[in-house]
């Protein structure tokens, strides 16, 4: 990881006696995509709002590009484009006027790329926003976020109200942002979309960061499930003894992290009746902290 673009240090926010965010320590490098996962009330939006300088931290600091998000919020926000979760736009404006207005406030009026991006997102940016559906409005808002050339994009539940096609398009846009060297921090309830694009995932529970998952490590892992017809193995693909409980009632359950050919070679020597090999996903990890929700 290079020099961090975003650093939070013991970032804490209290609303009266209620602690909404408790000592968040997080770093994001340029070009990294990080997801914030957690149910409602877990502190995701509070964390994002602190980064935007909407609120003063009770304790700790957040810095973007070396600038404190509260005391030097303007410099910090020069480096950020933000999509709020509760989307409210100036309804009397057209999409184009909104993009231009926000660009002018940023001191960086958008160029012709707005039109090509609008075509990609399939929106008519010359219609007043009041005439657009909520999904279309969200696309316009995405346009305002994807247009500025900033090092960090922050999105609060960005796929809300998007249809599956547009959700895929958004995720692709985030991948492209990463390729351009932009970092992305986004919150979501949807594990699949987080898995699809994130380099790391932070899981929050009741305001605390309870787990930080490197997705590359997770993607290297596979869950193997098989029904055996003969003598069960005692050692795994890497030659180490299988963990207790891996074989029960003629079934093999194994979590494997290592080269795929080694696994396949090992499986070829087992008495298999059927077999399922799946990439590991976030669900078991998420469930560890949030039950079956």
């Amino acid at each position: 990881m290079g020099e961090p673009l975003l650093v939070t240090d013991n970032l804490t926010k209290d609303y009266g006696p209620f602690r909404a965010l408790a000592g968040l320590n997080l770093q994001i490098a340029p070009g990294e995509v990080v997801g914030l996962l957690g149910p409602n009330g877990s502190g995701k939006s509070t964390a994002l709002r602190l980064l935007l300088g909407f609120m003063r931290p009770t304790l700790g600091t957040a810095r973007i590009g070396g600038f404190d998000c509260w005391s030097n919020g303007v410099e910090a926000r020069k480096r950020v484009a933000y999509l709020p979760g509760e989307l409210r736009l100036y309804e009397t404006m057209t999409g184009r006027r909104l993009v231009n207005f926000l660009g002018q406030l940023r001191g960086d009026p958008p160029g012709p790329e707005v039109d090509s991006l609008a075509r990609r997102l399939d929106i008519d940016i010359d219609r007043p926003l009041t005439h657009l559906s909520s999904g279309m409005k969200r696309k316009v808002a995405l346009l305002t976020v994807l247009t500025p050339k900033v090092p960090l994009i922050i999105l609060d539940e960005p796929t809300n109200t998007l249809d599956p096609t547009m959700r895929d398009e958004l995720l692709e846009q985030l991948q492209m942002a990463r390729q351009r060297g932009q970092a992305v921090l986004f919150s979501s309830h949807v594990l699949q979309e987080v898995e699809a694009v994130c380099d790391r995932v932070a899981i929050l529970r009741r305001g605390e960061l309870v787990h930080l998952q490197n997705m590359a490590e997770l993607r290297e892992g596979r869950n193997v499930s098989a029904r055996l017809t003969g003598q069960p193995p005692t050692r795994g693909p890497d030659g180490t003894p299988l963990p207790p409980g891996s074989v029960a009632n003629g079934r093999l359950h194994l979590s494997y992290r290592g080269p795929l050919p080694m696994l396949l070679d090992w499986l070829a020597h087992q008495p298999l009746a059927d077999l399922r090999v799946e990439p590991q996903n976030l669900m078991p990890i998420y469930r560890r902290f949030h039950g079956t929700s």
């Binding site: 939006s45 709002r49 935007l52 300088g53 909407f54 609120m55 003063r56 303007v74 410099e75 926000r77 020069k78 950020v80 484009a81 933000y82 709020p84 509760e86 989307l87 409210r88 736009l89 100036y90 009397t92 207005f101 926000l102 002018q104 406030l105 940023r106 001191g107």
Partner: protein, 327 residues
């Protein structure tokens, strides 16, 4: 950045601004016609009849008795003379239509400036840009500086247009001349043979309207200060209206009831005396009326100072406060 915000805010208020300006323009034009009719047609009749009874103020005293005196105090018409066109034009600036429009504009716009923007959720959109919060306050200040004089200019233009339409204020005694006793004989009343046009100085209204601009600015600043702590436009508007109504009642009561007079200087309306600036060129408000021994102070300056204090308070609050999630 500030210019972009100002342009956007001006675009937002454009429809309402147009309506308010048109209403004030039309009202001012109509008020000139009313002024002409009262001062050059009705007042001469009353005066002539009153002179027969030897009491020139007979009708004015009759009108401003009982409830009339309350409305006279409430509207600040106490020192004004219905027979003089300039006095009558000054009453227009103090008229409830003008006052209410001016106050509704100031409270409505400033109430929505911060609390309304938070309530609508668009504040997040603005402040997620690299926009210093004080720029938003500055933009609203600049909009007030542009729009409040414009609103009052519409009234001024309406008066000038009205004066152009109605021409000279020549006392008209036709009704009196045609009056006949039941016997059919003409009634002998003191009617001048060659009535001269009454003096009218419509341009003096400019100075009165400066006072109106100052009042609007004061109310706007005060409301913005409330707006900067709130998150609901209508709650902000409610508080501001309550404060203004209490001030208005206190000022009126203080004029009618001596023991309550001490409250008047803490109301904005005590310093709103456009008629004095317009008719006498007097910009001073005598605090001694309410607080014995206190000096006279320039009323417009007090109103402007209240407005500036409101803006400073809004600025101080807004740059420090947490921005809550939209309702």
């Amino acid at each position: 950045m500030t210019a972009t915000l100002v342009r956007k805010l001006l675009r937002d208020v454009r429809p309402a601004l147009l309506v308010v300006c048109l209403v004030l323009f039309a009202f001012a034009t109509l008020w000139v016609k009313i002024a002409q009719r009262v001062t050059s047609e009705i007042a001469p009749v009353f005066n002539s009849v009153a002179l027969v009874f030897g009491d020139k103020n007979l009708f004015q005293d009759l009108i401003f008795k009982g409830p009339g005196r309350v409305s006279q105090a409430a509207l600040g018409w106490g020192d004004l003379n219905f027979e003089r066109p300039d006095d009558f034009l000054a009453m227009g600036i103090l008229h409830p239509v003008v006052l209410i429009l001016a106050l509704v504009w100031s409270i409505g716009r400033a109430g929505g400036a911060i609390a309304g923007e938070i309530e609508r959720g668009t504040m997040e959109l603005l402040l997620s840009q690299p926009l210093p919060r004080n720029r938003l306050i500055l933009a609203h200040f600049l909009v007030d500086l542009l729009v409040l004089p414009l609103i009052c200019s519409a009234y001024f233009a309406g008066t000038q247009f009205g004066l152009y339409l109605v021409g000279d204020f020549v006392p008209d005694y036709t009704t009196l001349r045609n009056l006949k006793a039941p016997s059919g004989q003409a009634i002998a009343l003191p009617i001048p043979d060659d009535p001269q046009p009454l003096p009218v100085n419509g341009l003096a209204e400019f100075w009165g309207l400066l006072n109106t601009v100052a009042l609007m600015f004061a109310v706007s600043g005060m409301t913005l200060a409330i707006s900067a702590v709130g998150r609901s436009r209508w709650r902000t508007v409610g508080y501001a209206v309550l404060i203004v109504v209490v001030m208005f009642v206190a000022n009126t009561l203080g004029q009618l009831w001596e023991p309550a007079a001490f409250t008047r200087p803490v109301t904005l309306f005590f310093y709103y005396q456009p008629q004095k600036a317009m008719l006498q060129g007097n910009w001073l408000t005598d605090l001694g009326q309410a607080w014995p021994g206190a000096p006279a102070v320039p009323g417009v300056a007090v109103l402007v100072a209240v407005g500036i204090l409101g803006y400073l308070s809004a600025w101080r609050t807004f740059v420090r406060r947490d921005l809550p999630a939209p309702l």
